[in-house]
Amino acid sequence: MTRPYLSIEGISRLYGTRPVFRDLWFGVERGEFCCLIGHSGCGKTTILNILAGLEAPDGGALVMDGHEIAGPSLDRAVIFQSHALYPWLTALENVAFALRSRHPAWSRAQILARAHQALELVGLKDAAHQKPSELSGGMKQRVGIARALSLEPAMLLMDEPFSALDALTRGALQDEVVGLVGGGRQTAFMITHDVDEAILLADRILLMTNGPDARLAEIVVNTLPRPRDRASLHRQPGYYPLRNHIVDFLVTRSRVLAETRPADWTGRNVPEISPATPHADNKSLESLAP
């Protein structure tokens, strides 16, 4: 059996004796952008924390590039929901702090030059010497993105990075993330509850049923062509079938499927479908409908 680049193998999380989720299997290929969508309470953030190594699963294992994940690593950079910048450091110092961890042998000048470069990449050249309290929510999140990307991580983990932002800022940042990490250069895993965000960014979208005892119900392959941008995405053929499928899932099927777990259910064979491609898959779609 060949393992994907990042392989999640039967992990579970218990709350007391009740599972929040269990027997969760999926993989992320090198260069792939994966999104996980689900309602609150299905353990999304826990899954991300486990991938980051910040929490240990109650069962199962994670393997990345042939090595078991046993704790946090600079190879898995995290963009936190609440930006998590150090308020006593400037934007530049926040990025430099991360770079110092990555490159302990670099000179101060090298670190600062690289930090400036990272901030320039996210359009914050002029805000380098400002403290987070002097930055807007979107700018703070940009610093968080610059900090994570400056590490040149093997994997980028994002926990609803744009959910605290207003719609306009969110859209602008999504487009930037497409430019920075889209297109197969960066392996990434993102938690979201924004359907359009997932369609814009992801190669594959993992759909979780409602918790407790949540499970990965299906994997939606996003076959819409890259490069994508928000302005034209909704005019792509296949966009609406894809979007409708995910919205239907979130509105009804995530709940119905949570209540009707088949007796022979196993986390290892999650159906993978491509609603945006008009072919035989559509039949299997109908059979999946509740």
Binding site: G53, P72, L74, A84, S101
Partner: protein, 281 residues
């Protein structure tokens, strides 16, 4: 609202008005009254000027002002063990407070770090802290005098023991309250224990630690006066007690004023230092 009450100068102006009014009221309350007639001369001799002239023993603000001017003009004179300039006395007190406070900081801040970072250490030491914290620092004085056998060092020990608790408790509180996500960032960056303590936990907890230091220096300055009244010899507390023995109320009032001013200066200095490490979200 009138523009005056919104002006930045309103409160200082009103403070000066209030002070003037209080000084005038004080002056009027203790001013000379008519001589008391018909007193037995023997008795009058015993009672002194207060009874014979009707003059109050409480000094007027002008008397206190004169004492203050004289003290400021020559603050560091030394005419023997019982007559030193008030500047010298304040310097003795300040040195004791800073020494005791400094020693307390050296002990309390690392200990607070340990307690804040380890719930086990916190729970283990908590009963001791809770019992020792409310003990009046002066209650330690006999024990200090017996064991240290030196009154000057005992005073420093008393300052140490009263300064240690607010700093210890606040440091532990600040360290334990460091935002989980900030620690998570450090973990994902594989930051080592030392770098995490110095570059993440310390700056995050610094405002709380400084609040503890401000409380401590305030208490230390309160306690030094009482401690010096007990141990004697030097210091502003001894000065006040000595002036009580001299029945010089004007000197006592001047001492009270100077104690207040120095206490305020100490607090402002620490507040200034705290503003240097305070961060805003």
């Amino acid at each position: 609202m009138s523009s005056f009450s919104r002006s930045r100068m309103a409160a200082p102006f009103l403070s000066v008005v209030l002070l003037t009014l209080l000084l005038i009221a004080w002056q009027l309350a203790v001013r000379d009254s008519a001589p008391t007639a018909g007193l037995d001369p023997e008795y009058a001799k015993l009672m002194g000027v207060a009874a014979t002239t009707g003059k109050s023993a409480i000094p007027t603000p002008i008397d206190v002002g004169r004492k203050l001017m004289a003290a400021v003009a020559d603050p560091f004179y030394d005419k023997g063990p019982n007559d030193k300039g008030v500047g010298t006395q304040l310097a003795f007190s300040l040195a004791r407070v800073l020494l005791g406070f400094g020693l307390a900081a050296i002990v309390a801040i690392p200990m607070g770090f340990l307690i804040g970072m380890s719930p086990l250490a916190g729970a283990t030491l908590n009963p001791f802290i809770q019992v020792l914290k409310p003990v009046s620092p002066l209650a330690w004085m006999p024990l200090a005098l017996y064991t240290i056998k030196d009154s000057a060092q005992s005073a420093i020990f008393v300052i140490f023991i009263c300064s240690v608790w607010p700093m210890l408790v606040n440091t532990a509180f600040g360290v334990a309250g460091v935002r989980r996500e900030w620690l998570n960032v450090a973990r994902t960056l594989e930051v080592g224990a030392w770098r995490r303590a110095v570059h993440v936990i310390l700056p995050a907890a610094a405002p709380t630690i400084f609040t503890g230091m401000r409380i401590s220096i305030g208490i230390a300055w309160l306690v030094i006066v009482a401690a010096e009244m007990l141990v004697g010899g030097t210091g502003i507390g001894y000065f006040v007690w000595n002036q009580w023995n001299n029945l010089s109320l004007a000197d006592i009032l001047m001492g009270i004023l100077l104690i207040g001013l120095v206490g305020m200066a100490l607090d402002r200095l620490l507040a200034l230092a705290a503003s240097g490490v305070t961060w805003r979200e």
